[in-house]
């Protein structure tokens, strides 16, 4: 089916307006959340010292080779079926201003990178930059900036949903499980207990694909979590968490899976 240029332009504009509105709605929700947190604030929560450009602000909110490139996204795509309360930190890192406007947008090439890896790198840098805007409540501004970037780098258009969903606020487990059955652009179906290693260890597909093991999460978060399982890690005896989990029981896999979702900012603590 051929789509006329006018129709395509209209569709593009609608997409952009939708993304812009999404950013504004998210920002409004974050402001409401911020008000709620401040209404119940903890006086011991550390602030950035006076004299710093962000002086007086809270430092945190509330306790709590080519083949390899394909390896992560490939595993993640296979997974998707489609392509403690802690003490507040007293450390203020002088040179580190998360979410600050010094946090400039990443450089985006006007021409589409030829390699999948090159394109994915840009998607990830943009997504992470937008998500860091959450702390400063500038997600809406950054989405608007993204739309301006899109004017110069139209090749990003197919990935706009994957980029913007990275900044989604965390949801309850029930919400994420429902999302697994609601197809939406920018989201993937994620197995809480990793399917490949579970299958290799003899767990039946009925457990692996059970509704309680499936969640719908932002695509780039899905890739990030899959990557975390695959790279070596000091905590797990210098081996990848995936390797650590080989031979472990279902409960241990669920525990690690839930914690990974929480620390990825996908699941509410």
């Amino acid at each position: 089916m051929q789509v006329s240029a006018a129709s395509w332009r209209t569709s593009l504009q609608l997409h952009r307006v939708s993304a812009l509105l999404w950013g504004k709605v998210l920002e409004a929700k974050l402001q409401a959340l911020d008000r709620a947190v401040k209404a119940n604030f903890n006086p011991n929560q550390p602030r950035i010292p006076a004299g710093n450009p962000d002086g007086g602000q809270w430092t945190r909110v509330g306790g709590s080779s080519g083949r390899d490139s394909d390896a992560i996204s490939g595993e993640a795509n296979r997974d998707s079926g489609t392509d403690a309360n802690r003490q507040s930190s007293n450390v203020v890192l002088a040179s580190f201003k998360p979410g600050n406007e010094d946090d400039q947008p990443p450089k985006v090439p006007k021409e589409r990178p030829r390699s999948s890896r090159g394109r994915t790198r840009v998607y990830k840098e943009l997504a992470k930059w937008i998500a860091r805007g959450v702390l400063k409540e500038v997600v809406g501004k950054r989405i608007t900036a993204l739309l301006t970037i899109l004017d110069e780098a139209g090749w990003l258009e197919p990935a706009i949903d994957s980029i913007r969903t990275f900044a989604d606020p965390p949801k309850s487990l029930e919400e994420l499980q429902q999302d697994a059955y609601t197809s939406a652009p920018g989201y993937d179906v994620h197995h809480i207990v990793e399917q490949t290693s579970a299958e290799r260890d003899g767990f039946p597909r009925s457990m692996i694909d059970a509704p309680e093991n499936l969640v719908g999460i932002p695509r780039l978060k899905h890739w990030m979590i899959t990557g975390w399982y695959m790279i070596p890690n000091e905590d797990y005896g210098w081996m990848p968490p995936r390797q650590y989990l080989r031979g472990k029981g279902w409960e241990e896999r669920v525990r690690v899976g839930h914690e990974a979702l929480i620390e990825a900012g996908v699941l509410k603590p």
Binding site: R60, S65, D68, R117, R132, V134, M230, N233, E263
Partner: protein
Amino acid sequence: MRGLDPKTMTVDQLVELFVEICIGQDDALLDDDLTKFRRLFEQMRAVLDELKSRPGDQRTALVPLYEHPNMQVRLKAAKNTLAVAPDEAQEVLEAIKASQWYPQAMEAGMCLRNLESGFFKPT
């Protein structure tokens, strides 16, 4: 690190090499380049083993990296000084987690959980 023998390097040179390796890891993470990351991870481990073996456990020389501009450098410096500067390193991990600077924020959060549960005992 090809051609470099950690045993012949000064502590300052080892720290410099540690930074270079971590920046390379950050790049590998952005590119989803697992082969490169794994190679750099092993190199980092060799540097850490060498620092640990020096008199007085010279991993303390990594503490100033808590304020390095690169988040992967901060993360790895903090995780790998937990045995020699536990409180300070843990606070840096808390700050990285709170920053929402991914994927380092995720790894910092998981590390804090593993410390709290006693699963991860830094040595």
